[in-house]
Symmetry: C2
Amino acid sequence: MIQSVDRAARILAVLGSGPPRLGVTEIADRVGLAKPTVHGLLRTLEHHDLVAQDPDTGKYSLGPGVVSLGNSFLGGSELRARSLRWTEVLARKAGEAVWVATLSGPRVIVLHHVFRPDDTVQILEVGATVPWHACALGHAIVAHLPTAEQARALASDLVPLTGRTRTTKAALRRALAQVRRQGLAVEDQEATVGDAGIAAPIFGRDSVVAGAVGLVGPADQLLVPAEAEPDLDRPDAAHPDVPRPELGRAVQDAARAISRDLGAGRGSPLGPVLSALS
Amino acid sequence: MIQSVDRAARILAVLGSGPPRLGVTEIADRVGLAKPTVHGLLRTLEHHDLVAQDPDTGKYSLGPGVVSLGNSFLGGSELRARSLRWTEVLARKAGEAVWVATLSGPRVIVLHHVFRPDDTVQILEVGATVPWHACALGHAIVAHLPTAEQARALASDLVPLTGRTRTTKAALRRALAQVRRQGLAVEDQEATVGDAGIAAPIFGRDSVVAGAVGLVGPADQLLVPAEAEPDLDRPDAAHPDVPRPELGRAVQDAARAISRDLGAGRGSPLGPVLSALS
DNA sequence: AATGGTGTTCGACGATGCCGAAAGGTTCGC
DNA sequence: GCGAACCTTTCGGCATCGTCGAACACCATT
């Protein structure tokens, strides 16, 4: 690990999270370095347009270069490229917005976003990040990670985003087990009040999870009350819980199609299973 | 300039331009460093998710972290934030796509993109970069740069993108002078065959150019033949050259509105001029 | 099996980046 | 208007840290 590069990367991370504009002193505090050290690093990053300094206030922010890099990443992403075709179909079939995401540390990053096919104004969420534990995409990915990485994910900060976010290891383990059982992750207003998600994992070569694809939309559109209980005299006790079956199937179909395009299931234990399913 | 950080940044730049996946050897060649040096830098960058290594081929590509940073940059960009409101209006009024861009080295970076208001499928160009000399946005920005930076821009590689791209310093100087004269930059199929652009500069505090806003669309929609020549017996000789007046005015209005929101024209020589114009 | 090409590890040399202290500059409060 | 307190920036010596040659392990071809 090269020290100065590591420090530069941490500076970028600090600038990327938190307030958009920071002074040298504030950055130095957050990364725990001396002021002149940070200054030198910033100067170098600035030279490459990765950070920019406000000429008035002297404060620093991320520079235009990072968007350019981000765009290159998206353009070169095989996962994204293979998704384009199938997500379009999925959005049309489901009538809801579709997200494709991949894991980066403890968060998922939205790589592709197909708007809900109606004429309402929607904001593009490509590049947005969500804590993995608070969205269906994240559950779908983490559930199929090797156990070591799964443990690391469970050890990360499990902050609640809404009142419904599951934040205990036990609850998340149960959720992940269920995802593995039914090959589908469901999230009900754990990231945003009112919004739910349905997602399925995407596998790349050697059947390692490469990401996930899923629907994001109003909870009452995506979910239906859980299967009729014996005691129907308490109808208000039933709460929306289960994905509408046709949506769940559509998501799984899309995930399998993308996985196949990515070349999943060659020379791996899971290979034959996936082939049989497709 | 911190050496190792500088080298790391150059590695990122190499990964961002050119083929999406490169091996250590190839990267080492392109940045002119020894293989182990590059390896160490890559390992560090990988640790921060700024690059990712394909587990199969061992080749490296940009990592998910860069999109995350790019997104943060866009979220914190004051230019972009102030543009949202006015670009929407401009797109509706003009019936064409609107871009907001800023300069990064010799290229402009698209910070905001409002789709042409019809139902055709369009791809989002946010994050895309275009050589400054090949687009109206770039002309609008460079024309209002301090002379030193302007000279630097003119000294960059002026590669042609289409058969119509102006690539000589003299031609570009004339173009920039005209931009300054009429406060409007026009480009006719210099970046993409069939597409034209009309752009105006956006000024930030102290009236330094912060970026540009403009229309991008089919040349025959944005431009009209230059003012009627005396000899009308050669109608085919006339070629579309001049922006449709109402579009030009709409672009300038939008640029001025954004500049005002950014706080342009306080305590600077150009301040009174801009105030008088608004 | 041999070969050329990978990506990776090791270690010693010496250049290189780190940080304490002090210097410009600006913005407050008085 | 003045002084003080903050900011960002510069300087220089010490020791650390990064660099690169050579050798390693590995894979796909030949």
